[in-house]
């Protein structure tokens, strides 16, 4: 944005100030995310920069906290790093277990949320859908209702899910199924929002064109509709995965010791013994989120190109 030539000196000064303010706000947004990256290589168990780090002395940096992600929880962490050691780390290390759990739970809840959410979004974007507004409001509400309320409700419900119909059956607390269902519910609003947004620019006459050329409804769906909405579906799925991958409150309420996830492990780490190992995990997660952001951005552009929407 350039100032017009007729701007007065006062306006020029204000414009400079405005740019400085904006820069400060961007710094506020981004610096907390970047600060953890150098600190995760700290040789000392502190959360602040040492003299060696500030003078860029190599002795001030180390990979020890990344190493501890593999060794913490292993019965015999010291030993030659052969195939046997790696398989032990894979089977025993606390953080590795947490990562496995997070990925398993994230994967299944994403599948569930994406499948059900896409189906529903297809129905919701039909003009004939009855009670559209009310149904939409209900389906989006898991995003709005405070997580503590959802977790409290699930805690009661999961302790005896069949009590609704007056029966007694097992419990869903401390089960993978329970957490996957809870996380799918939390991810569904994101799938609905992204897929309906993609469908809103969808040209309905394409379906009629397919039908007029003799394609069956299912063939039209798979050959015409699905390829066009895939970018929206994938970015909705990524949102759902991130939601599950980052969710800690429901896990704290309804998971058992078996379902230790990365956020739960971080939560415990932050509340109890805080060590730079947390920062090493944080750095890895920041890199993952950069990759996800890039993917979603590419998908968005692809979707706009496919639908013929020119970016503003």
């Amino acid at each position: 944005m350039a100032l017009p030539v007729y701007a007065s000196p006062l306006e020029r000064l204000w414009h400079r100030t405005y740019l400085v303010i904006c820069a400060a706000i961007f710094l506020f947004l981004i610096s907390p995310i970047l600060i953890v990256i150098p600190l995760s290589f700290n040789v000392e168990p502190y959360f602040s920069f040492t003299k060696e780090m500030l003078s860029l002395d190599p002795s001030g940096f180390s990979m020890r906290w990344y190493d501890s992600l593999l060794t913490v929880g292993m019965t015999t962490p010291d030993g030659p790093r052969d195939a046997n050691w790696w398989s032990m780390a894979w089977a025993e290390a606390t953080w590795v277990q947490a990562a496995k759990n997070s990925i398993i739970i994230g994967f299944w809840s994403t599948i569930l949320a994406t499948f059900l959410g896409t189906l529903a979004a297809l129905g919701l974007s039909r003009p004939e859908m009855p009670w559209r507004r009310a149904v939409m409001a209900v389906l989006i509400s898991p995003m709005i209702v405070p997580i503590i309320i959802i977790a409290t409700g699930l805690f009661f419900f999961y302790s005896n899910p069949c009590s609704v119909v007056g029966l007694s059956c097992g419990r869903l607390t401390s089960t993978y199924t329970g957490i996957v269902m809870a996380h799918a519910t939390l991810g569904i609003p994101f799938v609905i929002i992204t897929v309906t947004a993609t469908l809103s620019g969808f040209d309905q006459s394409l379906i009629r064109a397919g039908a007029s050329l003799g394609a069956s409804p299912s063939r039209t769906f798979f050959k015409v509709v699905l390829p066009l909405i895939t970018p929206g579906v994938v970015s909705g799925a990524l949102f759902a995965f991130v939601t599950s991958f980052d969710e800690v409150v429901a896990v704290l309420f309804i998971a058992g010791p078996e379902q230790q996830t990365i956020p739960r492990q971080m939560w415990n780490g932050i509340r109890e013994a805080i060590s730079p190992a947390i920062l090493a995990v944080a750095t890895i997660l920041v890199i993952i989120s950069i990759a996800l952001l890039a993917t979603v951005e590419l998908l968005r552009r692809r979707s706009e190109r496919l639908r013929g929407v020119t970016p503003a």
Binding site: V36, I147, I148, T185, S289
Partner: protein, 422 residues
Amino acid sequence: MADATAVPPMSPALLTTADGRPLKAALQAAQARARRRAFLLVAPLLLFVVLTFIVPIGQMLHRSVYHDGLSSNAPKIAAWFAATPAGTPPDEAAWAALAEDFKAMKANKTAGEAGTRVNYTLPETRSLFTKTARGADKLAPPWHEAFVAIDPKWDDLAVWQAMRGASTAYTTDFYLIATDRTRDAAGNVEQVAENQRIYLWLFGKTFFLSGMITVICLALAFPVAHLLATLPARKANLLMILVLLPFWTSLLVRTTSWMVLLQGQGVVNDLLVRGGLIGDESRLAMMYNQTGTIIVMTHVLLPFMILPLYSVMRVIPPSYARAARSLGATSWTTFRRIYLPQTLPGIGAGALLVFILAVGYYITPALVGGADGQLISNLIQFHMANSNWSLAAALAAMLLAGVLVLYWLYDRLIGIDNLKLG
């Protein structure tokens, strides 16, 4: 079609389809079919959400008005309370019923559960119940004297008053507690002593802090969104990454980073000390207090304010502002009278969204809030952890009501369909 020709000639106004059905009916049938198809696509998800979201919250609401701690464990005395009018002093039948209940409760080890229920309305009753249950074997007629021998508190009519209130499974007691109220000796609702009023105060504080965070977010988001909306697309997209990256980064990572920055020996304090702005011994306490909650929540919620503002500002035509300037308005007047009113939809959407999300926040206050930066969600968790489930449910129900009103407002003013992500 044979029978199509057999249909008697209709009035010319009534159109029919090829197979002779009135067009109106055929159209209605087709529309009903289309409606059904659309609904069938949504139905599986709706069922799923009802099961994993609506039903659990319903159960929570039920829990907030239901507690059978006394009525199920001491059924005899509950029956006596049901049979006698309020205020009846305990007679010998009541003492006998109570003695029988206590013997049963000792056998089932449930006196603590029953006492806990009464304890909500009258403190120290739980210990009275467990103490009495321990001596329940020695209870013998005359009952009244036997009870008083175990603990003279049994002569206190307040205990009986509290037990009467707790003797029904359905109760509004938890909402009374959650709104800092209690029942006096005559059963009238009154406020609790001033130094015991915590819940309404905490609700007030939660709303106040959320409002403050919303205002700070708006103040920070407005210039940034304006810059993004007026820059050329290429530059704006680059800067947009700085907004979207925090949005995509794990909440726990962001909170941890802020702990690194804000702690006593943290980066911000180090910079201030090195810059000579503060002394080494007077490092600022920016974490484990209200300041920490405000700073970190502002950072976490800022993208939710920037994104709606940006999408509104992007489509504001710059020609209006130019027209105002050409007609002699100063830049301030142009901003105030022309530009600002056009951004109001974005301000409304962002502010409501940030406020709704802030009111229910749990993780950030729990990690960086310390003692005075806790919000209502943290208190709900505290009561859940201490098995005060009904009280937690009542507090959660009140929070839910507040959030749903705001959500309804959002839907009316902005429309749920217009919610966008990135």
